[in-house]
Amino acid sequence: MAIYSDTVMEHFTNPRNVGEIENADGVGEVGNPVCGDMMTFYIKVDDGRLSDVKFKTFGCGAAIAVSSMVSEMAKGKTIEEALKISRNDVAEELGGLPTQKMHCSNLGADALHKAIEDYLSKKGQS
């Protein structure tokens, strides 16, 4: 589809890291099906690094590609590094997103950060 870059289309068509992690160390959910986009991120943390990242996404092509890209970018990073991944970084890595998709579908980084926060708050409690 002409509205998307080749990278977006590639990630949409072959999304990386789709799935759930059983007994994940952190889970983050953002969005809402009423608005059209909803993402759940699952992370596994080993030695302060994201040893595994998986996601499930309900939403448009951009939302799926964003999730896939975020999961790839985050995997293997330290928690600090992963927290620095921004919406813009993701859009850039994807070779750009259509303007109207920047806000509603570009929630992947938020979902990842939420999953990390979930992990951190669980860790804090234990």
């Binding site: 589809m1 949409f12 009423v34 608005c35 993402m39 996404t57 309900f58 939403g59 448009c60 092509g61």
Partner: protein, 392 residues
């Protein structure tokens, strides 16, 4: 790869006859219908012949046909022009919740100017509620506009009954027949309406032409002021080629309507029966029987429309969706909402719209490629995961 075009609601290939009829008007017969010489005569004659063909399609008097540039212009002209010309004292405009944007938005513009907009609801099949409609019409009503059929969900309205109610209340009644004209028989006299919009590209004609039929004696204030084209009711040089193409399309529609709709109904029904056979949690939208012959529309649960469109496009299949993500305004379909479909389910909207060049192999191809796409998207969907977990 197979190319399967199933988005005739958005645009259709032109039959050979339509193309052929237009070509002379892009070449040698380039005259302006207003000109007093042979080039002008040729153009004028062509426009008037087309007017007769378009009129014949709906049983109208050719003099009562105003050519416009598309369906949206016809609807705007009807709504704004009939209101501006109305001699009724009331300031209410009554429409239904499933009208096309080109009826709804002009009505909303008038609302901003001080008119009262009353929106009559539809039932889950998209049929306008006749009791509510009757209750909404009174001396305050300046105009009623209800579409003949909705292209998104296919539902055909009981226009005759609606016209009878409007008549009883003395309310002028316009119907947007853009999705219906050329596909189901329409006879304005039998229906009892006062104005009707139709569009060329809605009936396998070219883009760039539409028409408003308005009954003699109903006052109309023009939208495009200018020269005396179209009897002073629509100024501007006529798009002769598109008007001629619309005439040919109207004639073909008259000649082939029965045959075409029987054929399309066959394809459509094969999909309507076949898809739920192969897929769980998929529901037809609109009315099962009172339905445009070319329309097969569904909501597929747990997933969103754009993903389906993209994967189908990759398989060579072109369709459309009423989901928020596929609309450029990023809003979910107000038509599905009016049928009571909750927003998260409306996100899974998908519309297969058939045309005469489709065949049963196209249906089979869709039945083959579409279910795996849905499965794949559901595998990614957190909603589906939740549902499966809850189901256990």
């Amino acid at each position: 790869m197979r190319a399967v075009y199933l988005d005739h609601y958005a645009a259709s290939p032109l039959p050979e006859e339509v193309q052929e009829s237009m070509l002379p008007f892009l070449a040698g017969s380039f005259g302006n219908p207003s000109s007093l010489h042979r080039w002008g005569d040729d153009a004028k004659t062509a426009v008037e012949e087309s007017r007769e063909k378009v009129a014949a399609l709906i049983g109208a008097n050719p003099e009562e046909i105003i050519f416009t540039s598309n369906g949206t212009e016809a609807n705007n002209l009807a709504i704004k022009g009939m209101i501006a010309g109305s001699r009724r004292k009331g300031k209410h405009i009554v429409i239904s919740g499933i009208e096309h944007f080109s009826v709804m938005n002009p009505a909303k513009s008038l609302e901003k100017q001080g008119y009262d907009l009353v929106t009559v609801p539809a039932d889950e099949y998209g049929v306008v509620d006749l009791d509510e409609l009757a209750a909404a019409l009174d001396d305050e009503t300046a105009l009623l506009s209800i579409m003949t059929a909705n292209g998104e969900i296919g539902t055909i309205q009981p226009i005759r009954e609606i016209a009878a109610i409007a008549m009883e209340k003395g309310v002028p009644f316009h119907t947007d027949a853009i999705a219906a004209a050329g596909h189901i028989p329409i006879d304005i006299a039998a229906l009892g309406v006062q104005a009707m919009s139709i569009a060329s590209d809605g009936m396998y004609g070219p883009k760039g032409a539409g028409a408003l039929w308005i009954k003699k004696g109903i006052r109309l204030i023009p939208l495009l002021d200018g020269g005396v084209q179209e009897g002073g009711r629509r100024g501007g040089t006529e798009n002769v080629a598109a008007i001629v193409g619309m005439g040919t399309a109207a004639q073909l529609a008259r000649e082939r309507m029965g045959e075409r709709s029987e054929y399309l109904r066959g394809l459509r029904d094969a999909l309507i029966v076949g898809l739920p056979d192969r897929l769980e949690h998929i529901n037809l939208t609109g009315h099962l029987k009172q339905r445009l012959p070319w329309n097969a529309s569904f909501v597929v649960e747990f997933i969103e429309g754009e993903g389906m469109l993209l994967f189908l496009d990759a398989q060579g299949v072109a369709v459309s969706s009423g989901s928020a993500c596929t609309s450029r305004a990023l809003k979910g379909s107000h038509v599905l909402a009016a049928c009571g479909i909750p927003p998260e389910r409306a996100q899974g909207s998908i519309l297969f719209s058939f045309g005469p060049e489709n065949n049963m192999e196209d249906v089979e191809y869709v039945l083959d490629v579409f279910p795996p796409i849905v499965e794949r998207l559901r595998q990614m969907s957190p909603l589906y995961a939740k549902f499966m977990k809850e189901r256990g």
